[in-house]
Symmetry: C2
Subunit: 217 residues, 2 copies
């Protein structure tokens, strides 16, 4: 069935959230020396309905064998391809502060297909620096470098009070997809993709659950 | 109304996800020199229903004045307190690889109340190192240091194939809340808090939306 599904159509968000779990699970299974994996086994270990797992995996160009299941390394490979992790996507990063600097240092992102090719900051003293081999430029150079490199992805890690303004500059310069790490809800035109990753709101959740637990002891 | 709500009870997750937006917005408003802010204004700029904003803010120990609204700096201060960002929560980090090393370097986490006091890794050559002033120990030392420091929060940044095993070691050593940055769905006992922050699944979403957009051009 999956060969009829165009890989470029908009896969439902819940499916795209679950597929990386299967990839992680397949990698772990492979690391344990297993060669095959059934959707029932995935379902049991990840606590997801088996029919859901099969349905999710039907989006991906892979088929399991009856009574044997999926070939583990093939499953991992196809999932990586499907999720875009096997391609190289160039990205710019905006705001080389604490979190921005940390993300530039995270070479792990490249393993998932995200290749940060430059960082931008408004601090003139940062221009010309390199972090993890990646050049840092002054923000003024962004429109020119965006045209030259046709970069479509921008990572937003500026202080929260500049989030909206910098997002607008990014869009004006040619960025099509913004990975927003600030807790600010940026407003963008309809044709711009925004992915919010608010790690600090996750912290708030964890703190609240911990203090509720301490209280109930 | 808010004074009757115990700050330590379990605040609904959607509320805890929205409150940081209001905090970010209040900070931005303060940076622009404004001193007061109404829930109508917050609602309009963040594209949320005004009654929802007022309801969310009723959890927090702050009251607005009729026709004037909230005092901006007070609102920001109370939100920070309520969200746990004003307290200091000690944490250990497990797996000082790319992402783990990056998070240790992110001094921004401390501004949100998370204080990483040590990192652990299984690589013996890393023991004794310091990153951003934070000591790195061999994993063997974790149970002893956890007892000594009574650390309850553990950040999980090991390679995906070790996620489950290390999570179990963390729990056995005394960790109560796991901030899981791996894409692996760890299984834990009921009384353990897990917060999943899967930044790579956000990447997959963004890649898919971008390629769907390119296709439809």
């Amino acid at each position: 069935m999956s060969e009829f599904i165009d890989q470029n159509f908009k896969v439902p968000e819940p499916v795209l959230r679950r597929l990386p779990w299967y990839l992680a699970y397949a990698k772990q299974t492979a690391a344990c020396g297993e060669t095959s994996l059934s959707s029932t086994q995935i379902a049991k270990d990840l606590n997801i309905d088996a029919s859901q797992v099969a349905k999710d995996l039907s989006y991906v160009n892979i088929s399991g064998k009856t009574r044997v299941g999926y070939d583990v390394s093939m499953l991992a490979k196809e999932l990586e391809k499907f999720l875009g992790f096997a391609n190289r996507h160039n990205a710019f990063l905006f705001g080389v502060g604490n979190l921005g600097g940390a993300l530039i240092q995270d070479s792990g992102l490249a393993q998932y297909g995200l290749n940060i090719i430059a960082g931008f900051d408004v601090k003139y003293e940062m221009a010309g620096m390199r972090i993890n081999q990646i050049p840092i430029h002054h923000m003024d150079r962004f429109p020119e470098l965006c045209r030259q490199t046709k970069t479509e992805i921008g990572i937003l890690t500026v202080p929260v009070e500049f989030a909206q303004r910098v997002a607008e500059q990014m869009i004006a310069g040619g960025i099509k997809a913004i990975w927003n790490f600030t807790p600010y809800r940026i407003r963008v035109p309809e044709d711009i993709i925004v992915q919010n990753t608010s790690i600090y709101s996750h912290l708030a959740l964890m703190f609240n659950r911990l203090s509720a637990m301490d209280k109930n002891k």
